[in-house]
Symmetry: C2
Subunit: 199 residues, 2 copies
């Protein structure tokens, strides 16, 4: 008597999660269908039942970790309150904290970047994610500017700067978690952005 509804999506999720664990452990160059199926505890054949090919599994893994990051950011922002400055602050801290607490998220990002650069379809997906992220940050900046909390800046470009700093520092944390503790990294990023956006 297994649940009737949601079995198929659960199996899908099960495969994707196994893929993420494999990617975190051995990267995309070490990813094989056999390893994913073993990690998920299913047969090899079923992977091609739910996904057309290996690339589709990678895309699904990216989507999953992106949702994980989104959820963490949203949760942090829910805690921070509605103020634009506070929400930007929460976004930064959640992203950096994720690099430490859910390292696989950023690992999958990097693995995807490596493939995306040589595949038009994947590149389109990545471009969409970056555009969306820039828009999200840009909206916060616009809001802060409108209320006089930030100096007047071009929101799109400023968002690119914020996103760049975020990516770059999160990368350093992912590469060497002992190089910085998250609290310090967060403080420095926020100080830098505070000064960048200060009136």
């Amino acid at each position: 008597m297994s649940p009737k509804v949601g079995v198929a999506p659960l199996r899908r999720e099960q495969i994707v999660r196994a893929t993420i664990r494999c990617l975190a452990r051995e990267g995309y160059s070490g990813l094989t269908m056999r390893k994913v199926s073993r990690e998920a505890g299913v047969s090899q054949g079923i992977l091609h039942y739910y996904f057309t090919d290996k690339r589709a599994i990678l895309v699904a893994a990216l989507g999953a970790v992106m949702e994980d990051l989104d959820a963490r950011i949203r949760a942090a922002q829910a805690r921070s309150g509605p103020d634009a400055v506070a929400r930007l602050r929460a976004l930064i801290e959640a992203s950096l904290r994720t690099a430490l607490e859910a390292r696989e998220v950023w690992v999958v990002f990097v693995e995807f970047w490596g493939e995306m650069m040589h595949d038009d379809r994947l590149r389109t997906i990545n471009a969409g994610l970056y555009t969306r992220m820039r828009r999200l940050i840009g909206a916060l900046i616009r809001q802060g500017t409108r209320r006089g909390q930030f100096r007047p800046v071009e929101p799109t470009r400023a968002a690119a700067v914020v996103l760049g700093l975020l990516d770059g520092v999160a990368l350093q944390v992912t590469f060497d978690p002992k190089a910085f503790d998250v609290a310090t990294a967060t403080r420095f990023c926020q100080e830098a952005l505070g000064r960048y956006l200060a009136r």
Copy 2:
């Protein structure tokens, strides 16, 4: 009558450059010894005469593009003059310009990151490069601070911020060269760091 001196190193270089072209075109997951040998116009066997294995070729490719970036930074700094602010400015512009003019440099970085995260030996190499880069930037910041051009900051942490911003923005340029022109990106980075380090 080929030149007597430097043939072996030239052949090595020839293989490394072919590897970089292959990586730029198809990434590490698409890199095979056969493709590298074809691209270089040599036999497959010789690759293992100059390199112990595939990983060693990747390491050599990373070293080569890192030297390329270094050379570009040094050249820009030679033009900029000895002032710490100007040299930092030159470093930023050279790095971003490289992402556009020599895209393969940053592509190889990303491909290396993907492997490095799952290989201790490669991770050590990467950690060394980052430490060196942070030191380099840190020294410039320290110099600027000492001369009163920058506010007092902890140079190591500030260097991490600068390096993070640099990586993050260069990545965005590499992923989508049309998203920003280098002049704008450079201006925004320098504005951000100027404000970050301003007294």
